[in-house]
Amino acid sequence: MRRSMTIKARQYMTLGFVAVLLAAAAGLAAWQLRSVSGQVAAVDASAQSAAKIAALGGQVGSLLAYERSYFLDLARQHPVDAALERWNTARLAVVTTLDAIEKATAGSAVTATRATLTKYEREFASLRDRVALEGLAAADPEGPAGEATRTAFTQLTARVDTLTADVGTQLSAGTAAAGAGISRGYWMIALGVVSAIMIAAIGFTLMTFGRVAADTAALVSVCDSVSTGDLDARVADLGDSELGRVGRALNSMLDRTARLADSQHERDQMQAALMKLLSEVSGVAEGDLTVQAEVTSDVTGAVADSFNLMIVQLRQIIGQVQAASRQISMAVGELRDVTENLASGSDDQAAQAVEASVAIEEMAASIHYVSENASSSATVAEQARANAEHGTRAVTRTIEGMKAVRDQVQETAKRIKRLGESSQEIGEIVELIGDIGDRTSILALNASIQAAMAGEAGRGFAIVADEVERLADRATEATKRASMLVKATQSETAEVMTAMEDTTREVINRSNIANEAGVALAEIQGVSNRLAELLQAISDAAQQQARGSEQVAKSMNEMSAVTRNTASGTKQTAAAIHSLGVLVDNLNGIVTRFKLPAAADAETPAFAQPRLVASR
């Protein structure tokens, strides 16, 4: 193939070659199709045989029908020729069909069928002969005479059935074989066509790429030379193909490159300076801020200078960030301590609040108890007051009674005194009576003397005088006894007087005591009154205290609830501060990745130190 041919031309050429191959493949396919059509014809024959076999059953059936028709006509005394004619036609159809089947299948089954058909014909003929000879009655086709004929027919139909089945099987096998042959034929055609195309394609590829590879190798060798610095290398003429054009373009490019090569040295120098600068400042990327770029006189000098300025500013910023982050870290630590203290403190506080509310509850119960006691004591005091009042009244009545007794006693004493005085008078009177008696006694003595002196005349007078004397004596005796009685009376009266005076004094004393009791009771009454008032005041105060303590207990409960809330709030704060600490640690980790010169800390402007006043 000519080198000057373009790839397009080669493609056209290849297409032509492929067309030739396709024609060859079509011929092969036509040859294959021929054999396929033979197999299709075989299938068609099979299909026809199948139709015939289907007809055979009906034809054999019509044989029996015409046989029956023959005997019916015979029985009715009708002419039988027409029926026999039809039977014969039917027999012929059967024979024709059998011939056709034999032709289509070449099977021995047809021969056997034919034999049974012949046997049936023979039996039918012999039955006809017997009827002709012996009459219909003697040779009844339905009776024993027709037995052989019926048997022959049954065998015939059985044979036909077998034939039908055999031929069917044979046919379907044949059809299947034909089908397989057809599909094999088609496969062969397809294979032929594909193989042809494949061979063509491979051939084309080999041809085309062989040429392309050679041209490419030439181009590559020139490029290799150029890459090693040989700018004089050139590509040979590769014709008008695409690669040829590439070769020409490469050549012209190399020509221009050779002209540019003179400025290369300058560029190398600049690149070296840049590389140096880059290696100097590459540490910054890893956070090393201690680096410093050398300020040279060439063009990178200005870059290095401004870079150094930038690094200084960066150092300051990072230094400040580090200092601030350290301070934050410290402050957070302090804050954490404070909040932890606070949290534990508020836990304690909550516990104390609960204790306090329990204690206050007990205090409230105690005050309530005291209040109740004071209340009932006030009642007792009131009772005491009432009793004292009752006592006072009783004492007053007693004193009054005593007074009455004293008065009566005094009255009695007076009367007794008067009685004493009266008995004194009686005594005097008794004394007077005694004197009179004495004098009467003397007078009686004088009178008796005078009577004696008068003698007998005075005898009567002497008796009277004697009588008078005896009376006077008795009077004297009586006055003596009366005087004694008066004396006794007087002395008893005096005793009574004394006793009465004692009694009076006693009564007065008792009255005074009762009076004192009355005064004491009155005092008790007053004290009880005061006591009741005081107890009432205590009870009131205790009740007020109880109410107050209820209020305190309630406040205490509320306070414990608040404290619990505070405690949980403080815990949350502590947790928040903890996570803040973690964040600050992270920040610290980040900023300490930056490496500063040792003096950088001193450069850092001092921040106003944040101060946390922890009240502990």
């Binding site: 204690a359 007990e362 409230a364 119960a365 309530h368 108890y369 109740e372 006691n373 009932s376 109880a546």
Partner: protein, 292 residues
């Protein structure tokens, strides 16, 4: 069921009147609540009822009013109704009277080697019982004595038996007692203290309801009952005081809390003032009966 329990006064078809609850609580455990506290008490009862899974008040009332409480329902309710406030050496004058007068007197009158018995009735979480024990052992280190602590709350008794107290709790113990009888526990950094074994083994705790008769019928030399009667109804006070008085042996003393003077004098005891503290005393020999 008794007639009283079935005759439930109901405020409506479903509920129980607060007064009925109040009456039931007084009847069963003697605890009386001020009117202002009743809503809280009813709240506690309802909480317990719901915890038990009972919806209707009437049903719960019937359960609680049933004689004898095998379900432990009262125990649980009492835990929440009682106040466990107490402290070491609460009302110091009572303890001074014990230390300075009562214990020396008992030591002088008891036969040598005799065992003293002290009872802290309503001891709550045990501080009073341990305070008594400290006084008794300080009075006579070799003397034999037992301190009994009893309370209606089983939870409180459980805490008392642990003998573990916080720093704040022990601050009311006199300094020299604190140094001798308390030991710091260094298990969890809470700064708790416990009582020396020499004392704890002489202190016994039990659950006792003061208004319920039971088998605790010892004869004690000292009975302390502080801030217990204040929670009781007047009838329960009388009942409890009678029981306390009955447990005071010959020559023994009963000390009630300040302001806890009972309406009725403790039967068989005579009021005395000991070191400025009002106490009740059972004479060693009975006073001669005066024949009329």
């Amino acid at each position: 069921m008794s007639k009283a329990a079935s005759g439930v006064r109901t405020s409506d078809a479903e509920g129980i009147a607060p007064q009925a609850w109040s009456d039931l609580i007084v009847r069963r455990c003697g605890l009386a609540f001020r009117h202002i506290r009743m809503p809280e008490v009813i709240g506690i009862v309802h909480g317990q009822m719901r915890a038990r899974g009972i919806e209707h008040e009437t049903e719960y009332y019937t359960l609680l009013a049933r004689p004898g409480d095998g379900s432990g329902e009262w125990d649980a309710l009492i835990e929440r109704l009682t106040n466990h406030e107490t402290s070491f050496f609460r009302h110091p004058p009572s303890f001074d009277a014990l230390r300075l007068h009562i214990l020396p007197e008992l030591r002088a009158t008891r036969p040598p080697g005799g065992r003293l018995s002290l009872w802290s009735a309503g001891c709550s979480t045990g501080q009073e019982a341990y305070s008594l024990a400290m006084c008794a052992i300080a009075d006579n280190a070799h003397g034999q004595f037992t301190v009994w602590g009893s309370d209606i709350s089983h939870e409180a008794i459980k805490i008392a038996r642990q003998a573990r107290f916080g720093r704040r709790s022990i601050s009311t113990i006199p300094e020299h007692y604190r140094q001798r009888y308390l030991v710091p526990i260094n298990d969890n950094g809470a700064g708790d203290f416990t009582i020396v074994e020499d004392l704890t083994q002489r202190v016994r705790f039990m659950g006792t309801n003061l208004v319920e008769p039971d088998g605790f019928r010892a004869s004690h030399d000292v009975v302390f009952c502080h801030n217990v009667l204040i929670y009781f109804s007047p009838a329960a006070v009388t009942q409890a005081v009678a029981r306390l008085a009955a447990s005071v042996g010959l020559g023994g003393y009963l000390l009630l809390g300040p302001g806890e003077a009972p309406h009725d004098r403790p039967p068989g005891l005579e009021p005395v003032i000991v070191n400025g503290v009002r106490a009740f005393h059972r004479r060693t020999a009975r006073p001669m009966e005066i024949k009329s």
